[in-house]
């Protein structure tokens, strides 16, 4: 009898060891990332930041003992690619959670698919206000432009411009932000001398510059990206259009100065700030330096980092791997979650709050505007 018991126990032990690698299932999350195409230079940074957070998650026990993994799908920086990538992640891999693509247009293209297929979609860089209406399964750790629009209007009021010209990039982000700004600006009693949108990616904005010149504004609110902003600044400088440029967060980058030289001097803008003095941010920075020595922290890297950390927390706490349970766990996990970018509590729409700081270009570099 005893021999039998010993043999059976032995078999059970061997079996559990042999079978356990199969049972230590990885917890995999999908990610639609711009690894190629025009956003590739940012996409690489996002990926690195996500991997940094992943390392920390797995170093502290993974998801209840199981390692967490991220499967990256390239979206070629286009909406079409994003749709293709998310369909693959949903139909083949069947992940319950997917980290969404960067640009607002790309995000908006895929959120109906995620919502319809009951898959959780989280964004770390998309600002368009329209995203708040995407649905119950869509969240983001990046603040909505609803807040930034108001921030820009406040800045304009602070600077004392009652009349100005509004121009913006013709896409989801630009159109959305412009709408919010305009509403607030007009409510504050401002007057728009002219308003128009322009296509992104053009090399020649002289027609647009001329139209601005025609209206003779003292200030221009230009909601734009780095390349387009730099080209416009340069061409405005060359054609002697001298106005106060007010921009948003998307243009805030040393590359703006690199591309436009002294034409960018004096630009003032807003951007979502988070204190860099918090222990969480310092920890992020230190960990980054350790894993990628000598590299600067990428734009929005902190948001991606927080997104992974928050998701891991939710996955640890969830009662099961069903989507609705994960969703509840996510909402609960966010309450009071202080990440590198601040408080990430989700509101009813899956959005987070933010404060907006001001930046300016002075002496050839970007600094805070006081």
């Amino acid at each position: 009898m005893r021999k039998l018991t010993i043999i059976l126990t032995g078999i059970c032990l061997i079996a559990s060891v042999a079978l356990s690698p199969a049972m230590a299932a990885e917890v995999v999350v999908g990610a639609v990332t711009p690894l190629t195409g025009k956003l590739a230079v940012y996409g690489q940074g996002f990926q690195q930041a996500m991997l940094l957070a992943l390392d920390e998650v797995n170093a502290s026990g993974g998801i209840n003992g199981n390692p967490m993994k991220i499967l990256f799908e390239d979206n070629t920086s286009t909406s079409k690619g994003s749709v293709s990538a998310i369909q693959k992640l949903i139909t083949i891999n069947k992940f319950p959670v997917i980290f969404g693509p960067a640009a607002s247009s790309n995000f908006l293209a895929v959120c109906p698919i995620a919502q319809q297929n009951k898959t959780i979609l989280i964004g770390a860089e998309s600002a368009a206000a329209a995203i708040s209406k995407c649905g119950s399964y869509v969240f983001r750790v990046f603040p909505s432009d609803l807040l930034q629009g108001k921030g820009v209007a406040e800045l304009v009021q602070y600077l004392g411009y009652k009349k100005l010209l509004l121009t913006y990039v013709n896409n989801d982000w630009g159109v959305g932000l412009a709408e919010v700004f305009k509403k607030q600006f007009l409510e504050d009693g401002g007057q728009l001398l002219d308003e128009f949108s322009y296509d992104e990616g053009k090399t020649d904005y002289r027609s647009e510059i001329l139209r601005i010149k025609k209206a003779s504004p003292k200030a221009v609110v230009n909601l734009t990206y780095i390349k387009e902003g730099a080209t416009m600044l340069k061409q405005a400088y060359e054609t002697r259009l001298d106005v106060q440029w007010i921009m948003g967060s998307a243009a805030k980058s040393p590359k703006l100065i690199e591309l436009s030289g002294e034409a960018s001097e004096g630009v003032i803008g807003t951007y979502p700030t988070f204190s860099q003095d918090t222990p969480q941010y310092k920890a992020y920075k230190a960990a980054w330096e350790k894993k990628y020595p000598g590299k600067k922290t990428p734009i929005f890297g902190e948001y991606n980092y927080d997104m992974v950390k928050l998701t891991a927390k939710a996955l640890r706490k969830t009662t099961s791997m069903s989507v609705d349970d994960i969703r509840n766990a996510l909402i609960n996990a966010s309450k009071g979650f202080i990440g590198a970018t601040g408080d990430k509590t989700f509101d009813a729409n899956g959005d987070v709050g933010a404060t907006y700081g001001r930046w300016t270009v002075k002496g050839g570099s970007i600094g805070d505007y006081k």
């Binding site: 990616g201 090399t203 027609s207 340069k234 400088y237 002697r240 002294e262």
Partner: protein, 290 residues
Amino acid sequence: MIYYLQLTLNGIIAGSIYALFAVGLTMVYGVFRFINFAHGELIAWGAYLALLFTQTLFTLPIYHAVIPALALTVVIGLAQERYVYRPLRHGNRITLLIASIGLSYLLRNAIRIIWGSDLMTYGLRPMRGFSFAGLSITPTQVAMMVAAVFFLACLYFILTRTMLGKSLRAVADNMELAAIMGINMKQVSFTVWVLASVFAGVGGILLALDTNLEPIMGLTNLIKAFAAVLLGGAGNVWGALLGGLCIGISENLGVAFVSPGYKDFISFAIIILVLLFRPKGLFGVLRGIR
């Protein structure tokens, strides 16, 4: 009023560049009787090769980089002829056209691989423009117009005062007869491609000085070159010049009336209208280079 004058001035500046593009395209058509879809890539490669010599590989100042850039552009143009067009010349028309579309796609993507799809710049500091009578123009733009005039003047000299130029015109007029008369076809072919490549390359560099580089610049300017060629009459070099100026001016003035997003639409519309109502162009004769 100043607004429209400035637009017209911008148009003349743009038009002088389009003229350079159109002249190359129309010469190839005049002699070989086909539209080189890959002409746009000669423009783009000219600009990007200059970038190669000023940033990517070496750091020559832009004026020195122009010579090697143009030389290499000519190599590309001659290679196009030797490996793709010459074998297909006597075959099916559609085959040639499809091959040139394929070639253009190939060259454009080669640029994307080497330099990426992003906007690039020669890195020159922005310069304040001159202001006179309320209009403004930058030193670069002045240089562009001067260069365009210089090259076109050289072309005039070549076509009318040299044997080579006259042979070229003869071939364009009647290829078989010219061959019978003893004109060296190989030499003429070589000359046309060299001229076309040089003009495309110069235009590309000038354009990039003004508005930076991107991989699609070849295609967008090819269509404008088409418009200019058609307007001036295919094969008519001086027509192409005038056509270029017309396209430049109408594009820039047109923006005053339609949304800037439709700026390219204007040159497209001109193409369609010319093709439908006056395919010979405003000054055209269908045969010969005048």
